[in-house]
Point group: C2
């Protein structure tokens, strides 16, 4: 039995990711309270577009660890909210390049401040070095399963 064997009683909360669920719920509530009419999933797509826009849906899939149908529908909903636009690529007509609208640009500052605040809430009383170890472990877990 390897020394990293997990005790059964602890399986559950690790698998369900209750901590990340709690963070997501808190962030969503703060968006709602601020009158921001977007879901955290939509926000996570905008998050990547603020870093780099004019990317294909496939690139968004890779960046956000989602499959193609999920991104199709998130982009559909973001388009309905007038936050992004699909623009057919001239070089390759299979590709939609996704661009931000002015409305979406306006959201960046406010939502990022709320997200910062949320993570500060979450990590209160957690020493920085332990946060670093936690991130390291989660990254290895992700790589192990990729």
């Amino acid at each position: 039995m390897p020394n990293n064997h997990f005790k059964r009683g602890e399986l559950y909360s690790f698998i369900t990711g209750k901590a990340s669920t709690a963070i997501a719920r808190r962030l969503q509530k703060k968006f709602n309270n601020a009158g921001l009419n977007i879901t955290i999933e939509q926000w996570s797509v905008l998050y990547h577009l603020w870093k780099k826009e004019g990317v294909s849906q496939q690139e968004i899939c890779n960046a956000t660890f989602r499959d193609k149908p999920s991104i199709t529908r998130l982009v559909d909903n973001l388009e309905k909210l007038n936050l992004v636009k699909r623009v057919a690529s001239e070089n390759d007509r299979r590709i939609n390049l996704i661009y931000l609208t002015k409305d979406a640009q306006k959201l960046q500052e406010e939502t990022m401040a709320i997200a910062d605040e949320t993570l500060n809430d979450a990590l209160e009383n957690v020493p920085t070095d332990k946060v670093d170890i936690c991130k390291e472990v989660l990254q290895i877990v992700y790589d192990n399963l990729k």
Copy 2:
């Protein structure tokens, strides 16, 4: 600025819980490959019932960090699969007590072995002390946001 302030570029994967998502997907695949026709969410309910059955739906809500409608529907689906039964409480007719069927009892050994295996896959090359720190951090995060 508190010393636990999170750098913006790292917000995202923490919030989305990509590690726990990856674990969940791996576990679901192993269930499917083993011909087990249940979702991980259904399994997470069974997981608690194996520890203690004959509990109310509300108790399952608390144990699994879900709201009541989610549990209503998970129990609906588990009932359709003939894995649990709702039994009206005699003391309090508002309450459904949830019991496992024989079919569900048979699933315990096999699915727990698969879950163990999945976590061993996930935690390969992660030293035990770092796993412990990670769990500790995630627990504090959860408590901070509760």
